[in-house]
Amino acid sequence: MIRFIAKRLGSGLVVLFVVSALTFTLLYTSSGSIARNILGDQATPEQVALKEQELGLDQPLVGRYFTWLADALGGDLGASWFTSEPVANSLATRIPVTMTMVFAAMILIAICATLIGVAAAVKRGWVDRVVQVGAILGDSIPGYVIGVFLVTLLAIQLGFFPATSTISPGVGAEAWVYSMTLPVIALLINGVTGGAQQIRSAVIKQLERDYVRTLRSRGIGEREILFKHVLRSAAPAGLTVLSLQLIGMLGGVVIIEQIFALPGMGPLAVTATGQTDLPVVMGVVMYTVVVVITVNLLVDILNGWLNPKVRVS
C-alpha cells in the first residue's frame, strides 16, 4: 500500500510540475500589455515601459519561470501585481472559506446521495421514479439559480440567514455556520441528485450479479448482503462520481461565492483573471491542481483500501 501511495504521489508531483510550466508559459506569453492594465487608461507609453521593467517583464521567460519555481518550492508564490499582497497570504485566508464550504457540501452529498441512491435501487417502484425525476430536475437547475432563490426566500423574505457573508476575522463559529448554510445547500443540490442517480445504478448493477444470488441462496439476510457486500463493491463507482463532483464544484463555487459575497477563492480567481494579475492567477491554478491531485489520490487510496485488486493493477 505504501508503494502504491508513493507511486501515486510521484505522478501527482510530475503533473503539478508540468501544469505549472505550461500555465506559466501560456499566461506570460499571451496576456497583452499587463503594465497598461495596472496603470490604467491614463498611462503614457513611458510609464508603461517603466512598469514592465519593474515587473521584470523584460526578462527572458525561461529564467522567470525557474525563479518562480524556486521561490514557490520555498513557499513564496510572489506578490500580487495590483495589491502587493503576497499570493501565499491571499490563498491562506481564502482557502479555508472555500474548502469548508466544499467539504461540508461533499460530506452531505456523500451521505444523502448514498441513502437516496440505495433506497431507489432497493425499493425501486415509486421511490426510484421520484429519484429519477429529481435527478433530471436537479441537473437542469444551475446552483446559482437555487442560490438566488434561497437568498430571496430564506434570507430576504424570512430573515433566517444573512443574504451575504458575515464571515470576518474574529467572528464566532455561529457566523460561519449561518453564512455557509445557504451556499452549501445551493452547492449540494446538483451533487445529491446526480450522485444518487449514479449510486443507484451502481447498486442495481451489483444486485443483479451472480454473487448476490449465491449469497441469497445461502440464506444470508438482505441487509447484510447490501451493507457488507453490495455497497463495498459499488463504492468505487460512487467514489469516482463524488470525486468528479468535488472537482466540478470548484467551478460552481466561484459563482456561489460571488452571489453570497463569501471571501473565498472565487472572488480572488475572478478578480485576478479579470485584471491579469498573473502571480495570483498562477497561485489559483496551483491551488486547483493541488486539490484535483489530492482528491484523485484520496479516491485511489480509498479504492485500494476497499478493493485490493486495484492496488495490484
Partner: protein
Amino acid sequence: MKLGPKAAAAALVLSASLALTACGGGGAGAGSTAAGGKTVTALTLGTLRDIANWDPAQAHVGHALQPYQAAYDSLILREPDGKLSPMLATEWKYNDANTKLTVDLRTDVTFSDGAKFDAEAAKANLDHFKKANGPQMAQLASVSDVAVVDADTIDINLSAAEPALEYFLSQAAGLMGSPKALGTDAIKTEPVGSGPYVMDKAATVKDSQTVFNARKDYWNKDLQKYQKLTLKILTDPTARTNALVSGQIDATLLDPKNGKQAEGAKMKLETNQVDWSGLLLLDRDGTKNPALADLKVRQAINYAFDRKTILDQVMLGQGTPTSQPFGKDSGAWTEELENYYSYDPAKAKQLLKESGFEGNVTIDVPTLPGAETLISVLQQQLADVGITLKPGAAITNTFTSDVAAQKYHALFFNLFQGEPTVAIDQIVSTKALYNPFKNTTPELEAKIQAVRTGGEDAGKLAQDVNKYVVEQAWFAPLFRVNQMYYHNDKVNVTPQAQQAVPSIYNYSPAK
C-alpha cells in the same frame, strides 16, 4: 465489524470539517456598543471592488477615491457640487502666468503614526506621487518641482499651465500620507494618513471588507460623522441588492434592473449623471475603415439613433439622451448641443448617399460585457439606414492595450465626464487613450490650447472643443447614464458631482 474503520473515517472527516468551520471563531462578534456602553454610530457601505494598494500615490479618481478618503486627508476638499474648499491646504493662489501655485497649509495636523503634517510632508507626498508610477501619475505631469517656502507654505511650480491642478489636489494627487511611511511596503497594505478614520487591520480582509475606526482627536470633527466605517466589497450587483435590502449594508450603487428590487424594499434613490454612453468613432482619418473618414458617414451614424426609445427600452429610462460627450458639471456642456443630432433616418440615408458610401459601410465594434442588448438595438437602428454594425469579440483584459494599438476603429463604451482638461485628455487630445489614431487639426489644437491656458475660464473655453467634436461627429453619444445610488433611511446621502459614488464626507446619520 466491517463498517467500523469507514465510520471512523467519516467521523474524522466530519470533525475536521467542523473544526475548519469553527476556525474563524474565538473573538467577540462585531458589537453595536463601544466599551463604555455608548452606542457606536456605524456606517456600512457596499462597494464594487477593493482598492489595489493603500499607497496614496496608487490612488484613483472619482468614486474609486472613497476608501482613500477614510484614511487620508487631501490638500483640497471637493464639495458635493464640485466647489473646492480648504482641507489640509487653507489657501492657494496662482501667480499671474498660472505657472506657480502657492499653497498655505494647516499646522495642527498629525498622521496616525505620530508624524507631523507640514510643508516638508506635503512636498514629500507630491514628490513621491510624481515618481511612484501610479495610475494617476498624469495628474502631476505638469508639475516641474515643489519648493518648501516655510513650515506651512509650498510653491508648486508648473512647466505648463494646468487648469485642473486644484481639482487634482482634491483627488489622488492631493492625498497626504505620513512621510515616515511613504515608499515602505507596509503602506501598501495598511494606510497611514491623517484622515478621519484608521484602518482596523485585524478586522479587514482583502476583497471582502475593510473596517475603519474613527480616529481619536481628529482635527475636523465635522468630517468624522461615524465611529465605525465598514466597506463591504460586493462585486456582484445581485449580492449588493440583497445586502442592502436585508439591512447588511446602508448604501450602495445599483443599476436600473436591481434598483427596482431596492425600490420595492423602500430604499431611497439618489441619481447623478457621471458617464456618457455611446459610440466612439475612432478612425476619423480612415486609416483602417475609409468610410469613417467621411464626415457625412459619421453624421449619418448620429442621425440613425432614436436615443429616447433606446434609453427607455434598454435602460428603463434611467438617463438623458444627448449628442455631446462633455458633462453638465464640466462647464463645457451647452444646451444647443444636447439635441444636435435628432433621430432622422431619412437624413441619415441622404447623407450616406451624398458620401458615396451608401450600402458600403461596415463598422466592427468589440462587445462590452453587459451591453449585448444595447449593441443589438444599435445594430438594428443602423441597419435601418443601411449601415452594418458587426459586434466582435468581448472586451477582454487586454482592452486598453488593444485600444492603444489601434485594434478597434470604433467602440461602444461608457466614459467618465470629467473636468474639461481631464475629459480632453481622455477622449480628444492626441495623447488621449480614446484617440488612438491621434486625429487632430490645427483648429482643434488651438481650441485645446486655449482651454489649457484658460485658468478659471477653462470650462467655458472647452465649449468650443465640445462644439467642434460634436459638429465633426467624432462620437455618436447616446445618453448620459443615471448612476443609481440607493440607501436606507438610517443614513442621509448627498450625491457628488462627477462621481458615481459619493465622497465619504457626504454621509451622515439620519436624525
